[in-house]
Assembly symmetry: C2
Homo-oligomer: 372 residues x 2
């Protein structure tokens, strides 16, 4: 698929003579010829970084207009001029929490004169890799990945390699909410206190007298889920409550999963073996709430409910959802800040691992319960 052959094919397939539609687009050379000057002069006019006679400039600009000339970034980049970009990769653009982080990335990147490119992978690792590859090849300033993963040998090996290859390309890998890869891997990590948040909110439930708390979790292998579940267990332990495995469920981080799982539980037995529900994300909590609502169960009267993430939706639910606030936007901003500061020599490699705090936001979905 060489340049030449490709262009010929395009021409052969062409339907019209409209320049640009099929024929090759105008180059700086074409403009030069039309304006009766050299390519260098055109380049100067375009870059506007060098004195050019007004009349010449006029002619060049006219030619540019007439030919509908568009510079080729690739050629320009090759010649040394960079358009700095920051890339952000998430699973799903529709997910409310990660887009909050995307927003933070975007703002900070912009504040520092970079363009921000976002890519959604639908959780497909191949796609993630393809995008990282593209960004690496385009020499993006930083590539920021967000979203829990399955933390195994394969993960570490794979991302360690990615970190190195990005580094070799003059870019930087940033992991948001993912486990660090090791001390010698050139990657920036921005985590948040996942376990601590889960601990705190479980404690909140326990302090309100709840002892049997249904846990609506994500996939068992998912690092985010593991950390949250760990916090839940630690809190139980601190209160001397024996954990009941039958109260732990694993599923997806979707509204629907929360809905279905809650419905199934509600249908199961007359005497409910739990007085509160800890949904691992607000989305799951929203689904659970709908199921509770449909089942005629009062919240927090009969059952208390808490979520995690503190997305905007939490305040729209009725009752308003008590949840754990995660500083997603700040994570995004921090990710960009750390990576760029490092590149600009304003930060040291040792400071490339940050853990942001989380905290409980008490709203209306938790009620007091006399334990026993």
């Amino acid at each position: 698929m060489g340049a030449q052959r490709r262009k010929q094919e395009e021409n052969a397939a062409g339907q019209g003579t409209d320049p640009g539609e099929n024929g090759r687009s105008a180059t700086i050379r074409d403009v030069a010829v039309r304006a009766g000057v050299s390519a260098a002069t055109v380049s100067r006019v375009l870059a506007d970084n060098y004195p050019v006679a007004p009349k010449t400039r006029q002619r060049v600009l006219r030619a540019v207009q007439e030919l509908n000339f568009v510079v080729n970034t690739h050629a320009r980049a090759l010649a040394g001029v960079r358009t700095e970009t920051v890339a952000f990769v998430l699973h799903d653009v529709r997910g409310p929490s990660f887009t909050e982080a995307a927003y933070g990335v975007e703002r900070e990147a912009n504040r520092r004169g970079r363009l921000c490119l976002i890519c959604s992978t639908e959780g497909d690792q191949e796609r993630e890799l393809a995008f990282v590859k593209l960004m690496r090849e385009q020499r993006a300033s930083a590539v920021i990945l967000i979203g829990g993963v399955r933390d195994d040998e394969q993960y570490r090996a794979r991302y360690t390699e990615i970190a190195h290859s990005l580094h070799a390309a003059g870019s930087r890998l940033v992991l948001c909410g993912r486990p660090p890869l090791g001390p010698d891997v050139p990657a920036t990590v921005v985590e948040y206190d996942n376990e601590g948040g889960a601990y705190a909110i479980t404690t909140h439930l326990l302090a309100n007298g709840h002892r049997r708390i249904l846990y609506l979790g994500g996939a068992l292998t998912h690092t985010t889920s593991q950390a949250r579940l760990a916090g839940y267990h630690r809190a139980l332990d601190d209160f001397g409550v024996e954990p009941d495995p039958s109260l732990i469920e694993h599923g997806e981080f979707t509204r629907n999963s929360g809905y279905e799982r809650t419905r199934a539980r509600l249908a199961k037995s007359g005497a409910r073996p739990f007085t509160a529900i800890f949904a691992e994300t607000d989305m799951v909590a929203a689904g659970a709430l709908t199921a509770l609502d449909e089942g005629g169960v009062a919240v927090p009267g009969e059952i208390s409910l808490v979520g995690y993430d503190d997305i905007e939706l939490a305040g729209d639910l009725r009752p308003r959802l008590t949840t754990v606030h995660v500083p997603y936007e700040e994570m995004g901003r921090t990710a960009v800040r750390l990576a760029l500061d490092l590149k600009e020599g304003r930060s040291r490699a040792a400071d490339q691992h940050v853990v942001l705090g989380t905290h409980v936001v008490v709203r209306q979905s938790v009620g007091r319960r006399r334990p026993g």
Copy 2:
């Protein structure tokens, strides 16, 4: 800022000798030297499109590993190999409706083997232009813009030019939910029946006996708002109801704007001059509902409420929000489909304008009212 000078500066600023950190990254030439072959051979190994002796291949791959070599897309693109991408531009990644469209774009682009790049502009036209420029220069297959605009001469002139320059660069401009630019402009337009949806839902309110409907709109100059307001007026007209200008409000498309405006109205007078609220987006409706809730106003008992967009949130509100469904995801998919089909010669220019339908989704936020 030439390549040479830049590199020297980078070296000067360097802290370590780690290759890649500051020094220039390895090129195909470096790999060739290390492997004791020519650059052409390395290229062949990498592209894997040509027979190469197994042993040579081994040596090359090893050298690639050792040097952490990463091809330079720019050079590659310049030499004729394209990574096809589709670009999507929206105002805010956090906005629920447009990200639905982004999802559609992403899926369809992916189905057709393209990578999808998303850019959020925070409503900044300059940023939008910068991104479009970048994508044009990178020769993206299509550049898709979504979000209402101020429809004036400047808009038309500006985007007509963009359409032409994208076309000249072999790309294609797609406008989602924005007014067409004219018959001779090379742009694809995917609209939805904005006015029709507003008409239908207003009719729904009117049919339920509501005559005084508070309208919580967006900016007056915004095309989306204009169309929705037009639908509202047409419905009133069809029912022989005199529109009351004091019931029309303009503001922003945010939760908070809906909240504040509703609160102000509620505070204003004891005798409320309206029995229903038409919020121009579900987001605004969510805010209005909170205000109503706080004011102790029963919905739909005392006041009915409808929104527009049918985002997921609509089903989470209590009462569940009656609203207008807009096929955002389909818009995204359609945008990609039309643009790529055209490029592939599987569609004609005449079919590059599509209007998708909208419809009312009846849930629980509208009550009957005895008119008078």
